[in-house]
């Protein structure tokens, strides 16, 4: 599904190298987790994959189902099936959440040459999915993320993911700012989307999200590289011993 080879990235405006040769293969139907200390490059990886400006790829490649992601505009990556659940979802005054969702769904459909969803059909689908995430009618009506609590913003990200039905979902520290109940709700939303044809890359600091979203593979990232890869037990090792041991071991 997602194939990253020797990806090297620096900041566009400074000579600061952030990713120093990332290699990663995520297969369809699998959940991969990336853990790592602050500043290891986890969020940068998610931004570079989804096409945020301000980064320069100096080497390597990233492909989604064989298509070169790095050559595409952000909206084309989304239409190709890539989705990033933001760590800090952006507030957009004056644009209704529902309008935003429908515009996004139809923009992607249009881009793929599919028919647009009718207003009535859209409403039906969005209401059902919102209900599962305990997103009420008021939240759908309000401007995008305006006045939403941290948990509401994250649930809204998952609602967008559910509506857009991407193939490759990247969750960037979706657990940050969530209490236990909200984390459970978000995790349930993600688990409901797990399927044969869909893959997940879950970026997190902590193991606790992985109690709810069970990963198939866990990677440890440090200083712009993936330094260790293992099964779910690797996350537990981090939880119990911190990163220091692992980093010392691979150094």
């Amino acid at each position: 599904m997602l194939s990253i080879k020797n990806l090297n990235v620096k900041l566009e405006e400074e000579d600061k190298i952030i990713l120093k040769g990332v290699d990663l293969e995520v297969e369809a139907g699998k959940v991969h987790a990336i853990m790592g200390p602050n500043g290891s490059g986890k969020s940068t990886l998610s931004y570079v994959l989804s096409g945020k400006g301000g980064y320069e790829v100096t080497g390597g490649s990233a492909e989604l189902e064989g298509k070169d992601l790095l050559e595409m505009e952000p909206e084309d990556r989304a239409a190709a099936g890539l989705f990033l659940a933001f760590q800090y979802p952006v507030e957009i005054p004056g644009v209704g959440n529902m309008t935003f969702l429908r515009t996004a769904v139809n923009a992607q459909r249009k881009s793929r040459g599919e028919e647009e969803m009718s207003a009535a059909e859209f409403l039906k689908v969005v209401r059902a999915k919102a209900k599962d995430l305990k997103i009420d009618a008021d939240m759908l009506k309000r401007p995008v993320n305006m006045g939403f609590s941290g948990g509401e913003k994250k649930r809204n990200e998952i609602l967008q993911m559910a509506m857009l039905e991407p193939k490759m979902c990247i969750l960037d520290e979706t657990d940050s700012g969530l209490d236990v109940d909200a984390m459970k709700l978000v995790a349930d939303g993600v688990n409901a989307l797990r399927s044969e044809g869909r893959a997940f890359l879950v970026i997190t600091h902590y193991q606790r999200l992985l109690d709810h979203i069970k990963p198939d593979v866990v990677h440890i990232m440090a200083d712009g590289r993936i330094v260790k890869t293992g099964g779910p037990e690797l996350a537990l090792e981090v939880e119990n011993n911190g990163y220091a041991d692992i980093l010392a071991e691979v150094a």
């Binding site: 989804s50 400006g53 505009e73 909206e75 952006v90 935003f100 996004a104 401007p143």
Partner: protein, 426 residues
């Protein structure tokens, strides 16, 4: 008052081109206005109040021509049940207009209301005259002196059907001067809609007296004929517990100067004036607002948003004057521009002048580009860059558009802006 010779000449040159209509009761007010106009002279570039907007074409004896735009859009407010009054290049069009009758109000035309005992006799030009201090507004005095027509609306009850003034522009050399008077009795309610480019050059005054507990809503759009020019004034006086809300959308137009002069004279009154404009290329839009608080516990809001590209220019001059004794005043003023490129310009002069000690007044003015983080967020959801830019532009204008009370009209205004953005994609 001694005027420089050039200014005198310009004023007299314009006066020479105009003819004062003979409408009986308004004679005295018109003569008075002409006297005031001669005393103050037409605006010129040296005037502080015209520092950011060149008045040349507004005071030229003959209006510069303006091509008529071939407009295939659905007429604005088409689905709204309203009383239509149509002016074509400033001339009343009886065939296109509805009967000027309605529940809770009387409507007459300035040009044909001839009775000497008319209620408007003591009203016509009164708020305009009040609005000439402390800042002179010569184009409004010129209007009072020479207006050829307009509507005189006396509102006695709660009017549910909006009065819709439709201004069509068919002649590329038309020069229209209209003057409307709206007198609202205590507790009455009225919505006035205005739309259309009106003329090659349009000078319009609207005087609105909102008596105690009365409610006045005003939604206006200034049409998209690229070369048209307009100088408009609203003069409003608010009684106790009254509400005044005015919103204007301006798209295109080579030059627009909208002045709004509001005086809150009764306690607990509320005045909101808002404007959204979108300009591309040769476009100069000036909002000049003067709100005077002269009563206790009144609220006023000025919300002005401008989207500018390809060298378009936006101007905002807004003032809140809080007189001594106008305690518990709540005044708010925001003027913002969204500059879609580096060629466009926004000039703002926000002013507060406060003589009471127990008031809350805030003002802010900003210029900025599209928020890159928000743009990326939308694009990451598959929305194209162009469409995302449009959404964020609507988002930027939202605070102004939200001043429109009716949701139906808000939606219509938003779809107009969206259509404009579609046509003006870079």
């Amino acid at each position: 008052m001694a005027q420089p010779a050039t200014q005198l000449t310009a004023t007299e040159a314009m006066i020479a081109e105009l003819q004062m209509p003979d409408t009986g009761w308004s004679k005295a007010a018109r003569a008075d206005a002409l006297g005031r106009l001669r005393a103050m002279g037409l605006p010129e570039r040296r005037d502080e109040y015209w520092k950011y907007t060149r008045p040349d074409t507004l005071i030229a004896p003959v209006a510069p021509k303006a091509a008529v735009f071939d407009n295939d859009e659905k007429p604005l407010f088409d689905d709204v049940d309203r009383l239509k009054i149509v002016f074509v290049d400033g001339v009343f069009d009886a065939d296109a207009s509805d009967d000027l009758t309605g529940e809770g109000l009387t409507i007459e035309r300035l040009a044909t209301a001839t009775s000497d005992l008319h209620w408007a006799r003591d009203f016509y030009g009164m708020l305009e005259t009040n609005g000439q201090t402390p800042v002179a507004r010569p184009l409004a005095a010129l209007n009072t002196a020479f207006a050829t027509d307009g509507v005189l609306i006396h509102v006695t009850g709660v009017v549910s059907r909006p009065v819709s003034l439709i201004y069509r522009h068919l002649s590329e050399s038309s020069d229209a001067i209209l003057h409307h008077c709206i007198k609202m009795e205590p507790g009455s309610e009225l919505t006035v809609l205005e739309n259309g480019p009106a003329a090659a050059r349009f000078n319009k005054v609207m005087e609105v007296d909102v008596a105690d507990s009365a409610t006045f809503h005003h939604v206006r759009t200034q049409g998209r004929d690229h070369e048209r020019r307009a100088a408009t004034h609203i003069f409003a006086r608010l009684g106790a517990e009254s509400l005044f809300k005015s919103f204007t959308l301006t798209v295109n137009g080579v030059l627009t100067r909208n002045e709004c002069v509001i005086e809150l004279t009764g306690d607990d009154a509320s005045a909101h004036v808002a404007g959204a404009c979108v300009g591309d290329g040769v476009f100069h839009h000036d909002d000049t607002v003067f709100v005077t608080h002269d009563a206790v516990n009144c609220e006023s809001r000025q919300v002005f948003k401008k989207v500018l590209r390809n060298g378009a220019v936006g101007v905002f001059q807004g003032k809140i004057l809080v007189k001594a004794g106008a305690q518990k005043t709540d005044g708010y003023q925001i003027s913002q521009s969204l500059l879609l490129d580096e060629d466009s310009q926004f000039l703002a002069k926000p002013e507060l002048e406060i003589y009471a000690d127990d008031v809350a007044c805030s003002h802010g003015s900003t210029s900025g580009a599209i928020d890159e983080d928000a743009l990326f967020y939308l694009r990451a959801r598959g929305i194209t860059k162009a469409e995302a830019t449009n959404l964020l532009t609507l988002s930027f204008l939202a605070e102004a558009v939200e001043e429109i009370a009716s949701e139906e009209m808000r939606d219509e205004i938003n779809s107009r802006v969206a259509a404009w953005l579609e046509r003006h994609r870079s």
